[in-house]
């Protein structure tokens, strides 16, 4: 190995260590993580939304061919939601635009992530895993409201 090769190898290694350090920093210092294994929750087949604290909610969402239940969720700004997602039939995917939340909805398993809505607006969630002929119509939205205390769920059972 000549000098330039050693240098290139060293720099490449350093670059990867640096990137990896950034990941660890985000995970440890900023507490940004990917979904993990959920075992302390009973399987659910219907969707529910309930308040668990002043600004905190728990939402259990069911994905099925070809709709999310609920399809519309109305929450006040500043809400933090513990979001549980599962599928009733085949694999679906769930991502909320402009928010770092992205979950696979797989039958026979429960997926979980926490999300906080800091700005008002409408945020779509579109199914992002192929789930059959009408996959492209499977979407819903969060409506985050500035002023009042409304919480509402449409297209599911509340």
């Amino acid at each position: 190995m000549d000098k330039s090769e050693k240098l290139a190898l060293g720099l490449s290694g350093l670059l990867l260590v640096l990137f990896f350090g950034a990941i660890m920093y985000a995970a440890v210092a900023k507490d940004i993580d990917v979904p993990t294994c959920i075992t302390d929750m009973d399987p659910f087949v219907t969707d529910t939304l309930f308040q668990t604290g002043p600004d905190t909610y728990e939402l259990q969402m069911v994905a099925r061919m070809w709709a999310f239940q609920p399809s519309t969720v109305r929450l006040p700004v500043g809400s933090t939601v513990d979001l549980y997602v599962t599928s009733q039939d085949i694999i679906h995917g769930f991502k909320v635009e402009q928010h770092n939340i992205n979950l696979m909805a797989v039958p026979g398993a429960i997926n979980y992530m926490r999300v906080t809505f800091n700005k008002p607006g409408e945020f779509m969630y579109a199914c992002h895993e192929f789930c059959g002929a009408a996959h492209h119509t499977m979407a819903g939205r969060f409506i985050i409201e500035e002023n009042d205390e409304v919480t509402e769920m449409i297209g599911g059972s509340l």
Binding site: D33, V34, T36, I90, E129, F130, G132
Partner: protein
């Protein structure tokens, strides 16, 4: 010394030609599907004008024919050509033909059930969507055929090692065996998934399937699959490209080290495709993430070594200064058309590599997972460097093995540049769209890109239109290639059949160290197996204990299970 010829038997030559020409037809059907997809997505068409059917049937044959069928055939044909050539020994012709026939029967079977709409499950065939059993059987035959082909090379290698003690195995042979070692270990998992889970379930012998387990086995296979695509291209980069550029391979040892690192780190990384999945603890996802960063190292070494080799070539051609070599390479020489396929691929791979590191970066994956960013990314890898190297290699090999001179060389030389321009435009559209939230695998034309739909997303439209533009240019690139390819295939040979010999542009190396610690696959295979067991045992354990119930089969057309 490196410019020798080898005389293949007529039957061996014919086999290599068949393994290239028939898949080329399938590839063209697949690429046609790609063009239709871009039109579907923009709402320009609502059903396929020639093949019929919806977006998802097209997406299935696009993925399966391009990324699984064509690539596997090319890798096998490449091995059937380069192993005997490099070792100067003949293959067992009967075994080689058996493998070729298995692969052809399997692929045609799978292609037919897809085209009649009985297997619209995309190339990942995740249950509980169910395909016709012949789809699974076809894929199995394709894989088994590729195993038979590679098993046929092993006795040649062992005999060569016995007869050439102390000599280094030719780098091409190391690269091809690396490709198939990775392939063999990876396909074991998908064989388990198909034979013990999907096939009995699709035949109705068992009712239910564990979806997460099947998915995890798929991705055990799915990530090394991308290295199975990439490695034959790496062989061409290391072995052919320096010579085609007029220089030498900067370091032979770097090539050997890179291949061994791929054996070690290609497989224990599959969970990085499941970062957003349930039922797998995040610490195991992180472990797979660490190994994924380890497998980026050989690609960085490759970037350095290839750039150094090209710099050397440029300087031999009279380049001065730090970057002068970049302008001295034979980009647009029609006699050197093969170089064009390799250099365009390398340029694209800069973007592909950066995208790959972003995808691998654990939490960052939240932003892009399953958005249009992902196809934007992998067209810059598998449909970029891999596809271009395979197209160049295919044209070179039909010339050699069908005993033809290449016709329409200017067309052949220009095709990869046209394709590259289209590819960069299409990938840009897909990637930015993805960052805005556009989902992948989605017929946007029927909803998000339809102004009459409640789901219409006006701000996605410019990026969807860019994919139409880019995709059309890519398609034109492929058409130019196909014309030069088939003009060559159907041309008359100029050399009498008895004098037909085969040669490859094998590079010499500038730095040729003994590297005795890199001469044996065994220790690296053992380390790979240890890492696989360590990284997959906890993942499989999590999946088995955190999932409940099984899934009945579904058709893509109805929310009611099939049984």
């Amino acid at each position: 010394m490196s410019d020798y010829t080898f005389r293949f038997s007529k039957s061996d030559r014919r086999l290599v030609a068949i393994l290239i020409v028939i898949p080329m037809v399938l590839l063209f059907i697949g690429v046609y599907g790609g063009l239709m997809q871009t039109l579907f997505r923009a709402g320009i068409i609502q059903s396929d004008p020639f093949v019929g059917g919806d977006y998802y049937k097209g997406l299935t044959f696009h993925g399966v024919l391009n990324a699984i069928v064509f690539t596997t055939f090319f890798a096998v044909a490449f091995g059937n050509a380069l192993i005997p050539y490099s070792l100067k020994m003949h293959l067992n012709t009967k075994i080689a033909w058996t493998s070729g026939i298995l692969m052809l029967v399997g692929s045609v079977m799978a292609a037919i059930v897809i085209l009649i709409g009985e297997a619209t499950v995309l190339y990942t065939f995740y249950p509980p969507l169910k395909a016709h059993p012949l789809f699974y059987i076809g894929l199995t035959l394709l894989v088994v055929g590729s195993w038979v082909a590679s098993a046929n090379w092993v006795p040649l290698y062992l005999r060569w090692r016995r007869e050439n003690e102390g000599k280094k195995t030719p780098l091409a042979v190391v690269g091809i065996f690396t490709t198939f070692i990775v392939w063999f270990i990876a396909t074991l998992a998908v064989a388990v998934e198909i034979l013990f889970m999907l096939l009995p379930w699709s035949l109705g012998w068992v009712d239910e399937i564990n979806v997460m387990l099947a998915r995890t086995l798929f991705w055990f296979f799915g990530h090394p699959l991308v290295y199975f695509w990439l490695l034959p291209a790496y062989v061409m980069y290391y072995v052919f490209m320096p010579k085609l550029a007029g220089g030498k391979l900067y370091s032979d040892m770097a090539g050997r080290l890179v291949f061994m690192m791929f054996i070690v780190f290609s497989i224990p990384v599959g969970t990085h495709h499941q970062y957003m999945d349930p039922a797998i603890s995040s610490q195991w996802k992180l472990l797979h993430g660490i190994f994924t960063f380890a497998v980026a190292l050989p690609s960085l070494i490759t970037a350095f070594t290839l750039a150094a080799s090209l710099e050397h070539a440029g300087k031999l051609r009279g380049a001065k200064g730090l970057f002068g070599w970049m302008w001295k390479l034979p980009y647009f020489k029609k006699e050197n058309w093969f170089f064009a396929y390799l250099i365009t691929g390398l340029i694209i791979f800069i973007f592909g590599g950066i995208g790959g590191i972003i995808n691998a970066s654990y939490q960052l994956n939240t932003v892009i997972h399953n958005t249009a960013w992902v196809p934007g990314h992998f067209h810059l890898t598998v449909a970029g460097p891999v596809m271009l190297a395979f197209l160049g290699g295919s044209l070179y090999m039909v010339g050699q093995f069908m005993n033809k001179t290449i016709r329409l060389k200017t067309w052949a030389m220009i095709a990869p540049y046209v394709y590259t321009i289209g590819l960069l435009i299409m990938s840009y559209g897909l990637k930015i769209g993805g960052l805005m939230g556009m989902p992948r695998r989605t017929n946007t034309g029927a909803s998000y890109a339809n102004p009459d739909s409640v789901l219409y997303q006006a701000d996605w439209m410019p990026y969807i239109d860019l994919t139409v533009l880019g995709g059309s240019i890519m398609f034109i690139g492929i058409v130019i290639y196909i014309i030069s390819f088939f003009t060559t295939v159907f041309s008359k040979s100029e050399v009498p059949e008895e004098d037909a010999v085969v040669t490859f542009p094998i590079s010499e190396s500038l730095h040729d160290e003994p590297a005795t610690w890199l001469r044996n696959f065994k220790p690296y295979i053992i380390i790979a197996i240890i890492l696989i067991v360590l990284s997959y045992t906890p993942v499989i354990y999590d999946v088995l204990q955190a999932t409940y119930g099984g899934s009945l089969p579904y058709s893509p057309d109805s929310p009611v299970p099939l049984r």
